[in-house]
Amino acid sequence: MNLAQSVLNGDRLALARLLSRVENTTPEGLAALDALFPHTGKAHLLGVTGAPGTGKSSLVNQLALHYRKQEKKVAIVAVDPSSPFTGGAVLGDRVRMRDLSGDTGVFIRSMASRGSLGGLAQATAGVVQVFDAAGFDVIIIETVGAGQSEVDIARLAHTTLVVEAPGLGDDIQAIKAGILEIADILVINKADHSGVDATERALKTMLELAHPVRRVFQHHGQAFEVPAHHTIEDNGRLLWIPLIRRTVATEAKGLPELLEAIDLHTAYLRESGDWARREEARLEVEFDLLLREKLVEHFRQQVPDEVVSSLFAETLARRLAPREAIGQLLQRMKS
């Protein structure tokens, strides 16, 4: 029996081995991904990102415990950075996830970022697809919030939680610019620390700058506040306004409120059609990337390197414009 079939049958060792092959993009791993593709598209993908030490792993632990109470199967993909000097990594997220040990309804996989631009996002997407096909209901992806590949990973998720902690990012400058672009829910973890109010104020200010919503109006000379709503209508389209929630992950505080926010977001995704749109956008990008990759591969197989370099030499000598050179190369491909 092949790996893909064993994974569908619930074989955990086969699952673990396939994850490695997908991470290493071996031919066997890629073939299995293709075979599993029709079985994907069912799981809820939850991204958890934020600076190191904000309490992401502790929060993931709590989220998983709660989903387990609802008897959902949970997979966790925990990404930590590789050393840029040696390529090695210490992956320590499991330390905070001890509570999940001994439960076969949970599967935790640590991944090193391996420093590859775009490659990480691709490998993570593959790993997530395998978990999805294996029947996990919720897949939580923990990443360190920095850099473009993190944004890509957040885009992979249906719901993205950005975790902040008081004292780490309480002035606006310190809160990374791209974060609001990806956050569906802003979590202020370590709410037991001082400075939590300042952090919340800073985040609220940023949110209001990004999503100006009129909350106060005048009526007979009196100011009335309109309760903040988590969605607004914009030209007939429903828009999501990121929610802010406070938690203390180490004491499981604020979890019901956070889970409620996730449920609200899930309902919004369904209602607004955003769920389908996100899936479509994601598949489109994957489709496009693969097409380019394969076209280049195909071209390289048909046209010898010497031909490419001789035409490039012509371009360098200014005898041929780049477009003309490419045109001649493409002629070669057809013949």
Binding site: R12, L13, A16, R17, L19, S20, E23, N24, T25, T26, P27, S82, S83, T86, G87, G88, A89, V90, L91, G92, R94, V95, R98, S101, G102, F107, I108, R109, S110, A112, R114, S116, G119, A123
Partner: protein
Amino acid sequence: MTERKIRVLVAKPGLDGHDRGAKVVARALRDAGMEVIYTGLRQTPEMIAEAALQEDVDAVGLSILSGAHMALVPRVVELLKTNGQQDVKVFVGGIIPDEDVPRLKEMGVMEVYGPGASTEKVISDIRSAIPTAG
């Protein structure tokens, strides 16, 4: 195809809190280009075997300074086998009396390291036990 990395689980079974050695070894393996999954203190053999399976590691390194190695190590080795991971290489470090070393090796432990062991030796032993680059 991406370069295949050696993946090692470094775990501390038992109840003692001596974690310096485990951390020193974890960092040394990282600096040698390996991917190290560190699970923290007070792991049961069941937790270790489960983590080894989920992470699909090539090797498991156990750090034991409590004196309980003769109970803990065979249990981990047995659970790895039960889970179909008999190929995973097991290394042990910490405070292990000389007379226990041959018995541990009989159980399938590749090598045993005591105080002052060179991390260079640990790295080269792991590399030669695992039949791939990394």
